[in-house]
């Protein structure tokens, strides 16, 4: 799972990436047409400014999501300028020796690669009933990529974590409009010093693209996407959880089950960390008409820090279930692709469902635990199809 890449290749990548970033990622606009996003054609535009792009379900067919199909979730404006010579990553707070690292210095630290399924905590919010405010994601605020960069703990150890250091805060270069609170969050020291938590500079072997946090982002595997702060510029070791909008009230789950539409006592909540067990159907698409027999049903399943153990399919609206075949490609924090071949006996309307179970015995529920921000939606996925004669 861990792979060390050569220092020379890494440095070449960095300088190449700076050049690419200068030339490639920018918007162009054509009158009377939709939103144009170079490098991201075909993605579902949930928001153009700030940029929020969802992967359409049919792209769930590749174990490693190509960068052009990888979802984008921005809370604010992407950095409008980037100064490669003066970029620094500072490490401060509860440390013995505060320090700041340049891009070149970062490139000299041993790099590791983690294949990780990154999912926005709000993925599936659009399916919550009653509706809740936020980006109305359906299935595709999730993707799997190989992330490469130094271990966060190697950088933290250079600074020397004091015994009082309990949480690690990340701040990015996002541009904050008006009086909006900045996008700052923290993770507990145990996860920050885990060997798999990285300061990623590369994604799928290429330098991070601008939309994905160039030149460096946190990569907190198995956890909600919000933990993996983009355009990283400041790391601070704290003696307690960071106190700010995106830790509280943002990104919290109620400790108790809430009746749909009900109120939550903010004191009775916890910060969201790992992703739950979840699966989605890539194809056939919801509402599609199909004539092929046999029909291949396929999709992806993931479980955050746990492993997917089983994927079941129902073609009769949940009355009977059969095991699907899990794909051979796997890595600790990565999704499994799955598929199932089905021979519909009769033409007509069918509801196809998929349901994943992980190695901790958690199974996707029939309906997701409702919460006022629509986080961690993981109900059994379903599509309705019409089988033609």
């Amino acid at each position: 799972m861990l792979k060390t890449i050569t220092r020379r290749g890494f440095l070449t990548g960095i300088s190449g990436g700076i050049a690419a970033a200068a030339l490639v990622p920018r918007f162009t606009w054509a009158a009377e047409r939709g939103v144009e996003v170079p490098g991201k054609a075909g993605m579902i535009v949930r928001s153009a400014r700030f940029l929020d792009l969802e992967m359409p379900a049919e792209f769930f067919s590749s174990w490693i999501t190509p960068v052009p199909h990888f979802f984008v979730r921005n809370h604010m404006h992407e950095p409008s300028t980037f100064d490669a010579d003066n970029w620094k990553l500072s490490i401060s707070g509860e440390v013995e020796r505060p320090l700041s690292i340049s891009l070149r210095e970062l490139a000299k630290v041993d790099a590791h690669t983690i294949t990780n399924t990154l999912e926005c905590a709000g993925n599936g919010r659009g399916f919550q009933q009653p509706k809740v405010p936020g980006v109305q994601w359906q299935r595709g605020a999730v993707g799997t990529a190989r992330f490469t960069g130094p271990r966060l703990r190697d950088i933290l150890q250079r600074a020397g974590i004091k015994a009082s250091g309990k949480h690690v805060m990340f701040r990015g270069l996002d541009e904050v409009p008006g009086k909006v609170p900045p996008f700052i969050r923290s993770i507990p020291i145990e996860k920050a010093t885990d060997a798999d938590t990285l300061i990623a500079t590369h994604m799928n072997g290429a330098v991070l693209a601008r939309h994905h946090g160039f030149p460096a982002r946190a990569l907190v595997p198995g956890w909600i996407g919000a933990a993996s702060c983009k355009w990283l510029t400041e790391i601070k070791v704290l003696d307690q959880e960071f106190d700010g909008n995106f830790m509280k009230p943002g990104y919290r789950m109620p400790n108790q089950l809430i009746s749909p539409g009900g109120e939550v006592n903010s004191a009775d909540t916890h910060a969201i960390t790992s992703l739950g067990v979840k699966s989605v159907i890539a194809q056939p698409g919801d509402g599609s008409s199909v004539s092929s027999r046999p029909l291949r049903i396929h999709g992806a399943a993931w479980a955050g820090e746990a492993a997917v153990a089983r994927l079941e399919i129902s073609t009769d609206g949940g009355t009977t279930w059969r095991d699907a075949r899990l794909g051979s490609q796997q890595a600790r924090y990565a999704w499994r692709l799955w598929d199932h071949v089905w021979r519909p006996q009769e033409p007509g309307e069918y509801t196809i469902m998929c349901r994943a179970t992980d190695d901790q015995g958690r199974t996707q529920p029939q309906s997701a635990a409702w919460n006022p921000s629509g986080y961690l939606y993981n109900a059994v996925d379903q599509v309705k199809i019409h089988v033609l004669a």
């Binding site: 200068a22 920018r26 606009w29 054609a41 928001s47 992407e78 409008s80």
Partner: protein, 112 residues
């Protein structure tokens, strides 16, 4: 403003400017439905983000009033006499029982 950056090693290394082209981007913002405060909502509510994030919501009057108050706290400029009219306009235009917004696909951008 959106013209192609030339690759000039020295120039870009010291300061690479990413072009956000935000004024042109506003033109790509979905139309807001006609209504008493349509123009005021467009001015106050598409300053920081475009209208995609607004038109995709399906919320009750109570939830819209929370959103409007949150955005005012974050810096949206809404005259206090207009607050209720904003909430009514948004609740009538984007209520819970309205069909969801179809997801628009991103285009590839200009090829040169």
């Amino acid at each position: 403003m959106c013209s192609r950056n030339r690759f000039r090693p020295r120039a870009w290394a010291s300061a690479v400017v990413w072009l956000a082209c935000s004024t042109l981007l506003q033109a790509q913002s979905p139309e807001l439905p006609t209504g008493p405060v349509q123009a005021k909502v467009r001015t106050a509510c598409t300053e920081c983000h475009d209208s995609h994030i607004i038109v995709q919501q399906r919320l009750s009057n109570k939830a819209w009033s929370r959103e409007v108050d949150k955005m005012i706290k974050w810096g949206a400029v809404v005259d206090s006499v207009d607050r209720n009219a904003f909430i009514d306009y948004l609740s009538v235009s984007f209520p819970p029982d309205k069909a969801p917004e179809p997801g628009e696909r991103a285009g590839p951008g200009k090829k040169k």
